[in-house]
Amino acid sequence: MKNIFLFTLAFFLSSFCSAEELCFANKTEYEAIKNRLPELLQQVPVFFSAKTKVLFVEVMAAAYVQFDSAGRVRFFFNCTHEVDKPIEETVSVCVDLSSVTFTFDNKKTEKVVLKTNNEVRVRNKLNIKKDSKDEFLKMAKAIEEKLRGSNSQSSSSGNSSSQTEGTIR
């Protein structure tokens, strides 16, 4: 009985230890822990893109995590829906087995779920996949063009209908 108890305790302790959170705020800190990070983050810069249909609506998204010339971590996210302009900020990062938490300069945090080795889920609604830098750049450009296009379209519409048309992004 005692052995079963000790075995169970050891199992829970090892589970707890393996779920440790690893954090980095710059390239030096990242290099020191990168081999212990989930596969998705073992090579930063890492780029993401998505072109998907959610309930018949086409959604494009692009994101990255990379280092700037001073070694700080940069976060970028843009999307054709809900976001008017890219969210691009310096962040610190904490990672566990199932999620990545970004902490922005203003202390606000954003938790992103690690779905697979090459996919994350944002705000429980949007899956974005790891991609090449070229594909990221193409997607980021397409999103920007779409946002600017829909913007000028809505601004050129008449007064009475502009409020409704302006809502289409």
Partner: protein
């Protein structure tokens, strides 16, 4: 008939997931310009990286310049002071963007006070130190509108011209 039924079933979910048309929300701010407000509840992805006081996006429908069209709106109802000062202005810039000593956004135009018909306000400009930022400039206006402290912030692709800054000041002065 089947198609209609499918649409009736799907549309509420589409809206709930936030991927449908944006719905303008009510806001107790008015302007001489035509403005539309989108609440953060309806556009949750836009909330990423923003403090809790972020309310949503205010769109100036008649503004032709893309960068000047939409601003992030913040409300600070718990502020006890009733007049603007440079110190108060800086403290709210720190609240929105993070502590100036630690953040990557550096002040390039120091806070300056100006008067409006509904209360004092201030404006300041910041620049992202990241060399590849797509919108490196932030222009922020913080002020009292009938005793309530609010802030509007813009992300700008390029350094704004004098005319652009004048336009933003004039817009603020129309807010009631």
């Amino acid at each position: 008939m089947k198609i209609l039924l499918i649409l009736v079933l799907i549309l509420p979910f589409q809206s709930a997931f936030g991927f449908g048309k944006r719905k303008p929300s009510q806001i107790n701010l008015r302007s001489k310009e035509e403005i539309v407000f989108y609440s953060k509840k309806d556009i949750p992805l836009s909330e990423i990286g923003k403090i809790d006081e972020f309310q949503g996006v205010l769109v100036r429908e008649s503004q032709p310049l893309y960068d000047l069209r939409s601003a992030d709106l913040y409300k600070f109802p718990s502020e006890k002071k009733i007049s603007m000062s440079l110190e108060l202005c800086s403290s709210y810039a720190d609240k929105i963007y993070g502590d100036e000593k630690k953040r990557s956004l550096k002040t390039v135009v120091a806070p300056a006070l100006f008067q409006t018909s509904v209360g004092q306000a201030c404006a300041l400009m910041l620049k992202d130190s990241f060399e590849d930022a797509t919108r490196p400039y932030r222009f922020a206006m913080v002020g009292f509108v009938h005793g309530r402290l609010i802030a509007l912030t813009w992300n700008l692709s390029d350094k704004p011209t004098t005319e652009m800054l004048e336009d933003l000041h004039n817009f603020w002065k129309t807010i009631k």
